[in-house]
């Protein structure tokens, strides 16, 4: 029993950061080079905390308010960015994250400045986090299997081909921005509602790195990817104490190694290999049809 109690905060953190990772995941799945998740989280965290503390809306409505703010932010970002190519999206969204941190630092009356907001009632304990995570994962799995997932895959892998098939890339980018904004804001709100306090630097560069590393490491195609990546990145420093200090350094190194040598991430690479093996067994009799040749290009 005490084992569970000791690790509960860690477990909660994994749930919350997986939600944040899902915000990043949605963007990457759609081929959007957005790194805006910490910005969305900041909006959601502060909006949720302010609504909860200053109004009588209660936790659920406050969270919904936070999510709507996230959607709005996503749509605003999509105005210029939905029709631009990747590098521009990265530049603008990194800037966006920085600005959100600045705003949180300087809008003292609203956000409490550098000290942030404190004494936020803990309304999102483990019993709330787990169902939310499950519902979110299910929603994303549904999206993956329907028309949106198909369009996202096409756009991500080859946007010219996607367009030649009639897919409007900007429309799907707008959708991805809005969804990423909603989920990011939800994550930020959950962070505020679970950890009693939030400060501007929580939503800065370290979160950006953690979230992108989680998705790259775990995988950006299947829904299980971000969960695996987040769990790995949060648990590892706990297992190997000396490593905890060099945490950021290791994340940087991991990012580089994974993106070069295992760009699909753990979950997707395993699934890919399993599919190949399963299909290979089925077509062993069709050797002559060239099923095993790889193109030379």
């Amino acid at each position: 029993m005490s084992f569970i109690l000791t690790y509960r905060p860690l477990f909660d953190l994994i749930c919350i950061y997986t939600v944040l990772a899902y915000s990043q995941y949605v963007a990457l799945r759609a081929g959007l080079f957005s790194l805006a998740t910490p910005g969305f989280a900041s909006i959601g965290g502060y909006a949720g905390a302010i609504l909860l503390k200053e109004t009588s809306l209660g936790p659920v409505l406050s969270a919904i308010g936070a999510i709507l703010c996230g959607v709005a932010a996503g749509l605003i970002l999509s105005l210029p960015l939905a029709r631009l190519r990747g590098a521009f999206q990265s530049i603008a969204t990194i800037g966006f994250v920085q600005i959100m941190v600045s705003l949180a630092l300087y809008a003292q009356p609203l956000t409490g400045g550098p000290l942030g907001m404190n004494a936020i009632p803990k309304v999102a304990g483990t019993t709330v986090l787990v169902p939310i995570l499950i519902v979110l994962a299910a929603l994303l799995a549904v999206i993956n299997r329907t028309g949106i997932g198909r369009a996202f895959d096409a756009i991500r892998q080859d946007y010219t081909v996607a367009m030649s098939l009639g897919i409007s890339v900007s429309r799907y980018f707008r959708y991805a921005f809005a969804l990423s904004g909603a989920i990011g804001a939800l994550g930020g709100c959950l962070l505020a509602f679970n950890t009693y306090s939030i400060q501007p630097d929580v939503f800065g560069f370290p979160m950006l790195v953690l979230v992108i590393a989680a998705v790259i490491l775990g995988g950006r195609s299947m829904v299980a990817g971000p969960l695996v990546g987040t769990a790995f990145l949060i648990i590892l420093p706990e297992l190997i104490r000396p490593l905890a200090d060099a945490r950021l350094l290791l994340q940087g190194l991991l990012l580089i190694l994974v993106i070069i040598y295992l760009p699909q991430g753990i979950v997707d690479s395993l699934s890919h290999r399993w599919k190949l093996r399963r299909a290979g067994n089925g077509t062993r009799g069709a050797e002559g049809k060239g099923a095993h040749e790889l193109p030379s290009a």
Binding site: T146, G290, P295, S296
Partner: protein, 251 residues
Amino acid sequence: MNSLRLEGISKRFGGLEAVAELSLAIERGRITGLIGPNGAGKTTIVNMISGLMAPSAGHIRLGDDELDGEPLYRVARRGISRTFQNVRLLREASVLENIIVGAHRHERTSLLANTLGFPAAWRERRTFRERAAQLLRRFDLEEFAGLPAGGLSYGHQRLVEVMRALAMEPDFLLLDEPVAGMNEVEARRLGAIVRDLAHEGIGVLLIEHNMRFIMEFCDMIYVIDSGRLIAQGTAPAISRDATVIKAYLGG
């Protein structure tokens, strides 16, 4: 909407004129060939028709509508689909998934329905999957349905691309060098399928360098060199045309 016509199309890249005052017509139900040596401008022409680039001058007409300048995805939605010279499949996705993506233009369910998983979205998915399976049966490649598309042989990848283009149920199909890299048997098989497609009413534009293939399967052939039309006509006429012989066999 019986024909797709290019009227006096030109394309300039900086100082270079890649295509000059080209006119041609692609009729539904017929196979139209476009042939020319490397660098003659064939792919540029396909790119202009499909909307990847806009012509510098001239008009592209679909029936009575003007297409020039329309973006890629709108041209596709009008029922014009294409394949690419260097096969561009979604390598990570399975063969079946690659084909299904082609059906996008027929999606009727909303973003919301697809997000929340309404029955309509699932029904549509099933419909598209069946359509893709039908195409696979027609091309005799059913067993590859679940394989990642990147693992197939080059010839098969080309066929998958054609199936994807057909999933759109297009009125016009632009095939950019479809038999490059295929052996005789595979090429003939594709030719036969293309002939069937034409009989079903699709207007096919076949771009190739393989003279024999074009001669065997095309109803009407346009020959270009350095961006200009140098001859047009049926296969027998073209084979006797002096300018064509000169361009191809160097006088």
